[in-house]
Subunit: 403 residues, 4 copies
């Protein structure tokens, strides 16, 4: 049997592939002269299966798609509070390279616009420019699962036209947001943007965000959960230039695009996505990349507000034996499921001296679910009821495997 | 046993309850003179269990919390495209009652600010003012699960100070966003805002949004899924005045607040929340309401970017009999799970003439999951393999119960 | 002999008259259906000579050209400080009918945009709507030198489309800028704008501003000098929509335009100008009216920053007789001239016991000049010098005639 | 006799001198550590008399007061059209060092904000940085009437903190407004701002603007009249930060302030003013400097909208002899006076064969006045009347002296 998923992705590419509207970025020769017809899509599951269709092995500069990851690294290195002192998290209606510090706070509005991205880069640990760039390159490599390199030709071209970024870096320096030499911040930021990746790499990096910060191939928690949540939140409101609300309503996948034609999306708990198509629309987003995301969101229900169908009751059955009430539980236990089980215990009090909970069919319990189950056990025991848990897979004890 | 949930909520109220900062709205006597110390929180699960702690039975005017529901009704009545022609969905940095049509589009920036809310109200079906108000009142009643009434004293007071709303309605009329008499739009909108609700009601209304539009007490699909997703998306980016990004990152619950001190939140697939505390902060949000939401998000992991822990593999076991490959599946099947099962079939091809799928432990399959399973079956059969499904609960046939 | 001035104005009209670009205002039938080819220019000197060329006797509604005069009346009635508490005097980049209260002050940015003009109208003395309108109509009549009437058809049409003005009036009411019924403010303001005038009338009204508030035909000081200065200042920075700086640099005449195609200008001390041509440019200014002003400014040196050529020395001659120093003065004496005379007395001290000042050739002395001359006399007398003034025309005593 | 003018200025200083509110600029030690109590005022007439009171000989860096003069030089070197292609002339509500290119045009809003001033500096002729700076230094020296020098300590300090200006220069470079190396533009602009001047110097420079571009001490036409008018116009609407309209209405003198505490004003045809007092208000304007300007405007009628009193009739007398009509004219002849004389000839036609015009008492005729008189003569002669002009001072022939 052949997996239908590549077939599906191929069909999506076929549908969107004929659109040749838009134009590649033309401010540097490396982007201007590249083949504009290339088209690829990669989908990586949270347990690390990657589906590649089209030009997903072509190396291109990561450009602005580096921003969410550099922000993650800055928050890891400095802590969230320190970073929030320097960079806001509010959507900005401005175009991506505009001078847009918030007039009230004096801070960049968010880390997805260039001003905030330069500030985030400058917050990465490192004694000097090279150390910061190297630290980011290594971090991005851990996210992608392979060593990444800087494209020196792209870097040189970008530097020769970096007047806007220099304007931003000097502005940030004048406000005390960036410390040290603004030119170093520009160089470092541009090296960060000049790292080469493939669509395949990017889908894995996105899947790491989707998997709560756990790299799906290596199993490493590269981004701590709280940082990961912050990055996804910022991508949700600030990732797509100029039209945050439109993207959230119509696609609903936290995303980030880059001027080289790359676009990533991370749907929490589900998948990481990446597309590559160089022609850009007026907002600077890849024309066909946006179309592919719209298709996936529509066809596959990949929208963060698409409520999962209400799960079957966690309480599969209740059986009252001679001296025991036996509960068979099932599925995954988060707040809603734990609440439902506790509710059942309240509504139909146990009259037997013993309660048996069969967790054989439970396959996951999250932290809140676990605390609630434990509180229920404590209360039953306070009522004088003996509690026995049949937990062959160790779910209740937190031993559940994570796949 | 007593449920720990009310105890938990009581503890949250105790923690936040001492804060007497802020002040109630004072532009009408009904809000100015009301007891500012009242405090309540209600939590409603997607299957309709409601936990009420504190002053959750006090009737207060719904005010701006009516906005997402009126927007839902407008989209139901006119269709999404028609409503998007009149009202944008972009966040607005402006304070809630400012004159803020988008200079480029000429439309209200979103339906959560007054300009957009007046426009949304005017799009509700109805031959006249009274018909529109009555239609909304009935709709809100179906969401709350009981008949709601207009507070005539609040309505009269609001009307006597409605200069800003009249300004907005006339401005909208001048741009052709509102048709007919602008004064009718003002009256209708203010009657909509003057409907009395309790925090209990509001948590049920919010739980309807969390449950994909299905009212959890009645089981009625009051809001179609696509409309429901739209409303939640708009609440995400535009629900909390002035600081969309801050709310999304730190709380992460689609929400809406009202000047009477009410605040609702809807976490897809999990719960509806409502708080009531009249003292407002500088943004017009309830001081203690916001604190309670922050506590719940932090303590209970109620954040939309909090990726659920990766579920245990859907493939519980595989057993190769004499002439059958027997697969035992478990849990809920959405895209990620279906993908994983198909992957297993690809990676370890079935060499036997027959495949048996035991779905006894599967408790939910969504639409995309179902389509993927069916495609897998089709492909196995095309390979000449006989497929047998053991589906005692009818999950695979879409007969799974919805709780 | 025929005056060359009408010939010159005719020539200007001939040059600009062929331009048929732009379009008349089309929001009411009275403006939409009027003959767009009409063209007239009137020039009124500060002593009341009026030159009319073209369609200068056609009655048209005064529209926004009423604004500077209503502002003058509001300042007369309430005092400058009280009016500045309600209406700022800062230029606004916004289009004329936009909602543009200053976000910091909450006040209309200036009295030339509709928000400020409605506020100014509402500040005119009067117990009710009719009294205020009547007071303005009478005031405008004194400025024009004839009784003016409201065009009831224009008024009715404007009222039926007055949504934007209603928006503004309600907004102003909500901020406490306008008191009383906002609808009254709208009606009154629109009646004010519906008063019929001719280009001839408008040139006389403008000449009153140019003449320091003195109506040039009647000699009445209709606008007090300090108020007049305020109105001219505001016209300078705020009179022409959207491009204050461009108008000041290229034309340099305090001006105001109206949507009916009228345009006035007042060059202090020189002339009042009015043009009428219904086709408007994108800013809402009369296309040919603007061209005529540019021609007059260029050809006739009518630019407020065009420094008058330095006058010949005020000290025509000095003659030292046996016991007298005799000074023959000439021209007009303002600060620069008075300073020069005092300087001469300092540089070449009088050694004779007597000083004779022959003012026969002096024809005007302003207030500052008079005070300086008197101070000079006081100091000479303190030095023991007898001062004799030969002042046949009473110039030094302030008796100089004012024409 | 002692001139009362220094006494008057001393009295103004005494009145304003006690105000110690505000604070000197503190971003460089040279400004931060300077004596904040210094106070001086200089007044220079259009014929070159300078009155100095207080600390008018202290050298301080010219700072932003260099902006109008650098703009003048840019317009001289490139022509007005070319400069308008790079720099707008619209008022900007932004603070002086903000990033404020016009979003629509992409150009700096005006040459008085830093963005526009850097652009203007870069338009000065010169093959390189040093040549441009030297050209400006020489130009400023001609305006001041003495050689000026760069304060190297100020220059060095400014450069070490020039992040905002670097931001602006790079932004301008990215938009193509500035060509060449942005760092050169910054260095040159800052050297321009670091030139030392005294209040005495500044009053002479301002008087040059007041005198139509003619340096009052040397008589040199340093700035061509059309350029001079442009500079005064821009100072009128853009010279004082943040509150153009307020300054025009309440003071009414085209002005420019600098962060070192200097402030200049130029009242066309009357005087140049300069004050020096280091403490600045929140807008960056000298606190006491502004007060002195307000006093001078109020006391001395120095406001550009203060219409000069209508001059006495230019027609002093008409006498009809046997075969001649004899007209005795007086005063200065500009458009209004010439118009009046022509009008008299039209209203009371000459019936004699000869007309005699006695210009003995006429002391100035400007270009427009001369053209109108010549046209009148031509028309009388065309009517067959002999015209004789008694013009002992050569006024009619344009020989009038210029003082």
């Amino acid at each position: 049997m052949r997996s239908p998923i590549p077939d599906y992705l191929t069909q999506v590419l076929d549908t969107c592939g004929g659109d040749t509207s838009g134009a590649p970025a033309d401010y540097i020769p490396e982007l201007r002269d590249a083949d504009p017809d290339r088209l690829g899509v990669s989908l990586c599951t949270v347990d690390g299966a990657v589906y590649d269709v089209g030009d997903t092995a072509d190396e291109i500069s990561i450009q602005s798609v580096s921003k969410p990851f550099a922000y993650a690294l800055a928050v890891i290195d400095r802590g969230l509070e320190a970073v929030l002192q320097k960079i806001d998290v509010e959507p900005s209606g401005d175009a991506f390279n505009e001078i847009s510090l918030d007039p009230a706070t004096g801070r960049p509005r968010n880390p997805m616009i260039n001003a905030g991205a330069i500030a985030a880069h400058a917050l990465i640990d490192g004694d000097n420019l090279d150390a910061r760039v190297e630290r980011f390159r290594e971090f991005a490599g851990r996210l992608a699962g392979r060593e990444l390199t800087v494209d020196e030709a792209v870097f040189a071209s970008e530097m020769s036209e970096a007047y806007r970024n220099r304007a931003l870096a000097n502005l940030l320096r004048s406000r005390g947001i960036v410390e040290g030499d603004p030119e170093d911040a520009v160089r470092g930021y541009i090296r960060q943007c000049s790292i080469n990746v493939t669509a395949h790499d990017l889908s894995v990096m996105a899947a790491t965000l989707a998997a709560g910060g756990v790299q799906p191939l290596t199993g490493e928690q590269v981004i701590p959960p709280r940082v990961n949540r912050q990055v996804l939140s910022v991508m949700t409101t600030c990732g797509m230039y100029d039209a945050a609300g439109d993207w959230v309503t119509s696609v609903g996948i936290p995303a980030k695009s880059g001027v080289s034609g790359v676009l990533i999306g991370a749907l929490p708990g589900q998948v990481g996505l990446a597309t590559f198509s160089p022609r850009l629309d007026a907002h600077g987003n890849s024309v066909r990349g946006v179309q592919i995301f719209e298709r996936l969101s529509d066809d596959m229900g990949m929208h963060m507000m698409e409520a999962p169908q209400p799960a079957r009751s966690v309480m599969r059955s209740r059986r009252d034996d001679a001296d025991s009430a036996v509960f068979e539980l099932q599925g995954s236990v988060q707040f809603p499921q734990a609440e439902r089980m506790l509710r059942a215990l309240v509504e139909q009090p146990i009259t037997e001296p013993r309660a048996v909970f069969d967790l054989t069919r439970v396959f996951a319990v999250n932290d809140v679910g676990l605390r609630m189950l434990q509180e229920g056990r404590r209360r039953l025991e306070a009522d004088g009821i003996e509690v026995i848990v049949d937990d062959p897979d160790g779910v209740y004890l937190g031993k559940a495997d994570d796949a």
